[in-house]
């Protein structure tokens, strides 16, 4: 089993770069995420051979080729199932699932909710660019309502999934959000995801410069990003804004933005983030906050402890072995009713 703590081995991000030419479009948000993952892996410091990066199909899913680790570029939608198999079979590996909004939430939706339910110790990097990039621009389950795309020439008529709400609906023990244009924060978030035992879902808002350019602009735009990005830290107050004077409070009506110093609000009134609350309700509210009315929550929104599947399985096996008289095929074949023909 992997230990929770950071190991001593010294790597730099460069150690995680493979010899393959990176083939995403210039300007694609995926480049930055690749960077952040390489940094995070170096920082985490597991022996390189213990990392396995598993993806489906999509632009983002080309990821494993660019990593100098064990890697598997699977088939569309099945990253979650393949990764589940890798981790269950070989729990000592640190398994990173790389997947797109189409790969994870359209064709791979079922594996996504089930790996979460089982709480297998995986890091799911969900590259949400709100579009099918690789197939050249069809709407995805996260495309905004009404958007015109190649397959919705008159605008979509489908409500997008809220990724955090869906994941927590399925029982997620860890949910975080990161941005392609903040490598430092993304790196930190990935390190925290790895530290979590269980399925860590990280929604990464990435920009597809070709087919959904600026889809996250309402959040990332320089002009107002400080007022629309709330960086959560467990145990810290939810304060944000250009002037660091905005905060979140929780009242009967749910979460609300307040200004410190206005209407008698002081810092003491601001909600302290408790990522470890078993009850997912407040985490869902946080994950569901949408700009411009509310800031968008970034960082670790939820990280609660629970049994992981692969550990539970190994424990059951140990218990069963200890309790059983059967330790080999010969034992098994000779067990129960048998008779001898002379």
């Amino acid at each position: 089993m992997l230990e929770n703590n950071i190991e001593v081995q010294k790597y730099t991000a460069a150690d995680f770069k493979s010899d393959q030419e990176v083939r995403w479009c210039p300007g694609c948000g995926d480049h930055a995420v690749l960077n952040a993952v390489q940094k995070a892996m170096a920082e985490i410091g597991h022996p390189k051979e213990n990392y396995a990066v598993i993806s489906g199909i999509g632009c983002s899913s080309r990821f494993p080729y660019y990593m100098n680790t064990y890697g598997f570029h699977g088939i569309h939608g099945r990253a979650g199932a393949i990764a589940s198999g890798v981790k269950t079979a070989n729990p000592k590996l640190s398994v990173w699932q790389v997947t797109g909004d189409g790969d994870a939430l359209a064709i791979g939706g079922n594996h996504f909710i089930h790996e979460i339910r089982r709480n297998i110790d995986l890091n799911i990097l969900l590259f949400n660019n709100e579009i099918y990039g690789l197939t050249k621009g069809q709407y995805s389950p996260t495309t905004k309502y009404g958007q015109k795309t190649k397959t919705s020439p008159y605008g979509t008529i489908e409500q997008p999934f809220k990724v955090g709400q869906l994941a927590m609906g399925a029982g997620a023990t860890f949910f975080a959000r990161a941005l392609d244009n903040n490598i430092k924060h993304a790196t930190e978030t990935f390190v925290k995801a790895e530290a979590h035992r269980g399925t860590s879902v990280i929604e990464i808002l990435v920009n597809c410069v070709i087919y959904s350019d600026q889809t996250h602009a309402a959040i990332t735009d320089k002009e107002f990003k400080e007022d629309r990005q709330l960086f959560l830290e467990h145990g810290q107050k939810m304060i944000f804004g250009k002037e660091k004077n905005k905060g979140i409070v929780l009242n009967q009506g749910g979460l609300q933005v307040v200004t410190i110093g206005e209407n008698g609000i002081t810092e003491a009134d601001i909600l302290v983030h408790n990522a470890k609350n078993q009850d997912p309700i407040v985490h869902m509210m946080l994950a569901n906050m949408q700009a411009p009315e509310m800031p968008v929550a970034l960082g670790v929104i939820r990280a609660v402890e629970a049994y992981t599947y692969e550990v539970a399985l190994e424990q059951k096996i140990e218990e069963t072995k200890a309790a059983s008289k059967i330790h080999s095929m010969d034992d098994l074949l000779n067990s129960g009713e048998t008779w001898v023909v002379k």
Binding site: Y70, G71, I75, E337
Partner: protein, 613 residues
């Protein structure tokens, strides 16, 4: 021992126990089978459940059956027709009317003969015997319920509990009929109900009462079936599904790898998953996936991660796995895919048997996507072919499809227990870090085409694989046209190489002659009996029952030349025969096909073969 005067010796006998789902017919049949096996007979059995979990009592749909064939000769099938039918109610009579051997014995509980039951069973009259034209049969109208109650009148049990043991009365009759000891059955009662001596006693009493009743009914014949001349050794009874599971576990042990089974339940394959799940004591990991796709994909992940990976399913589930099977083909990862065939198309006849997934196994993948296909042909050889599927997968780095079917999966037969030391060691070609760069798609010089398997966690062998076409040797993604041809050919050549260890196809019976009967998989027992009986009648006939389908054994073309005629018999509309036409086009093939959800009968086969003799 019964006290009848005229004991008739018989070579082999078929008994069919049948009654309502609640009547305990499976247990009854199993107990009888065990006594027969312990006595030294060879045996084969087949259960026949209703499709519904609990079909309405007293109806034909609710009848549960268990057939046992035992003999002093080698037994190859559970038998076509019953010498003795035990029918616990009118519905059981009705359901099994076609399966009684001409003039055979029918033992039925006359206490269940009443208007309501006749009606539920679909009888038009109140005289089932003449309605079913059983006048020429030896029908014993035994008052089973009454006598069971009588036997237990002082037992202190309530009527419901008492009647629950009437199957033991029927079993007692049968023990008498075949002059069988029943010590083992008594031991079973003691083991099973040890904590309830009242129940142990009741069962014993009812069984004895049945036995005694039979002694006094002179209409009942008395048979003796001597122990069979079968290979010496220790035996156990095993079903095809159990044997498949254990064969896979055995392969893992001999390959010295942990086993991982990613599956989704589906009739009639579910039990394989269950038997593997039982074996956490052997370190087996089962992953009950959310669907068949996840079943195979978790297995592929486990294979990548270095486990011996298997996935088990039936036809509709195999359909869902085909995309991922292609991924295993192109990544060249070891994987066993077990498909227990059932009646199709679509949901079809889920509880019935069929051999109609052969084309699906061979060709249901996009692109040129070859993989080895093998088939088991009896409950016990499911062990061997599951083991062999594992060997091929691991030694050749390829997914392998193992085909069984509902008939052999649910049937049971004795299996001789061989020590694991008698099985070959399986040697996966695991890559080691020897300092030079690991090339995932390098082919060794021995001509086997098998790439090396680098297990994640091994320092220095980090590499990437995937579903895109890859450059020969290095495995990096490649769109180079000529390389695609090279890799397409290499994947084919690798599967062709499997033939090196495939034994020659054996011909049973005459080695040359008038007719070669060809079959594959689970029909072997019936084909064997048909060919054997025709040979006894003097015909020059041989049988080639295939277990290796892709690649076909080396001598396949050869054996086809040795007979005047060739007939291919299958439980489908002609899939293997078409496959032979593709691979050995120079020959003429006759066909015998049947798609009824049932196994062949020996009689119909003999009729069909005789036409060509």
């Amino acid at each position: 021992m019964n006290n009848k005067a005229n004991v008739v010796e018989k070579e082999a006998v078929v008994i069919r126990f049948s009654g309502d789902s609640g009547d305990g017919m499976q247990l009854t049949g199993n107990l009888f089978t065990d006594e027969s096996a312990l006595f030294g007979n060879d045996v084969a059995t087949f259960p026949d459940y209703p499709a519904e979990i609990r079909a309405p009592q007293g109806t034909v749909g609710g009848v549960s059956g268990f057939q046992v064939h035992f003999g002093q000769k080698k037994i190859h099938t559970p038998g076509d027709y019953a010498d003795v039918l035990v029918a616990m109610n009118p519905a059981a009579l009705m359901a099994n009317r076609r399966w009684i051997k001409k003039g055979g014995t029918v033992i039925t509980d006359v206490d269940t003969f009443n208007e309501k039951n006749f009606q539920k069973a679909g009888f038009k009259t109140e005289d089932p015997i003449s309605e079913l034209k059983l006048e020429d049969y030896n029908v014993i109208l035994a008052p089973i319920s009454t006598l069971t109650k009588e036997a237990l009148k002082d037992s202190g049990l309530d009527t419901k509990s008492i009647l629950r043991s009437k199957n033991m009365f029927a079993l007692g009759i049968c023990y008498n009929l075949f002059d069988k000891p029943f010590d083992n059955t008594f031991k079973y009662f003691e083991k099973k109900f040890g904590k309830k001596p009242q129940i142990v006693d009741a069962n014993k009493r009812v069984l004895q009462a049945g036995f005694d009743y039979a002694s006094n009914v002179h209409a009942l014949p008395s048979y003796r079936v001597e122990p069979a001349q079968i290979e010496k050794g220790k035996y156990r009874s095993i079903s095809g599904n159990q044997a498949t599971a254990w064969g896979l576990l055995a392969a893992a042990e001999k390959a010295n790898l942990p086993i991982f089974c990613g599956s989704y339940p589906i009739t009639p394959a579910t039990e394989i998953l269950q038997y593997i799940a039982d074996r956490q004591d052997l370190g087996a990991k089962t992953f009950q996936a959310e669907d068949e796709i996840a079943g195979i994909c978790t297995a592929i992940g486990a294979s990548f991660a270095g486990n011996f990976a298997v996935t088990t399913t039936s036809g509709p589930g195999l359909a869902l796995k085909t995309e991922a099977a292609g991924l295993a083909v192109i990544t060249e990862l070891p994987l066993v895919i077990v498909n227990v065939q059932r009646g199709g198309p679509s949901t079809g006849l889920p509880t019935k048997t069929e051999q109609a997934d052969l084309m699906q196994a061979l060709y249901a993948r996009n692109g040129e996507s070859p993989l080895p296909v093998i088939a088991a042909s009896s409950p016990s050889d499911c062990f061997d072919y599951a083991f062999e599927a594992g060997r091929i997968a691991l030694e050749h780095m390829t997914p392998v499809i193992l085909l069984t079917d509902g008939f052999i999966a649910n049937g049971t037969a004795p299996m001789r227990i061989r020590p694991m030391s008698e099985f070959p060691v399986i040697t996966p070609r695991i890559a080691k870090n020897n300092g030079s760069k690991y090339l995932p798609y390098a082919r060794p010089e021995d001509g086997s085409m098998t790439r090396e398997w680098a297990i994640p966690g091994t320092p220095g062998l980090e590499h990437r694989i995937g579903g895109l076409e890859k450059m020969a040797t290095t495995g990096t993604v490649s769109y180079v046209p000529e390389n695609h041809q090279v890799m397409t050919d290499q994947r084919q050549a690798k599967v062709d190489q499997v033939i090196v260890k495939v034994p020659n196809q054996e011909i049973i019976g005459d080695q040359t002659g008038d007719l070669l009967v060809i079959g594959w998989g689970g029909t072997k027992g019936h084909l064997y009996d048909a060919v054997d009986e025709l040979r006894i009648q003097g015909y020059k006939i041989g049988l080639a029952s295939f277990n290796y389908i892709n690649p076909l054994p080396k001598n396949t073309g050869d054996i086809l030349t040795k007979f005047k005629n060739v007939i291919v018999a299958e439980i489908n509309s002609g899939q293997f025969v078409n496959y032979l036409r593709m691979n050995h086009p120079k020959f003429d093939y006759h066909q015998y096909n049947k798609v009824q959800g049932l196994p062949f009968t020996v009689e119909e086969l003999k009729d069909a073969f005789r036409k060509l003799l």
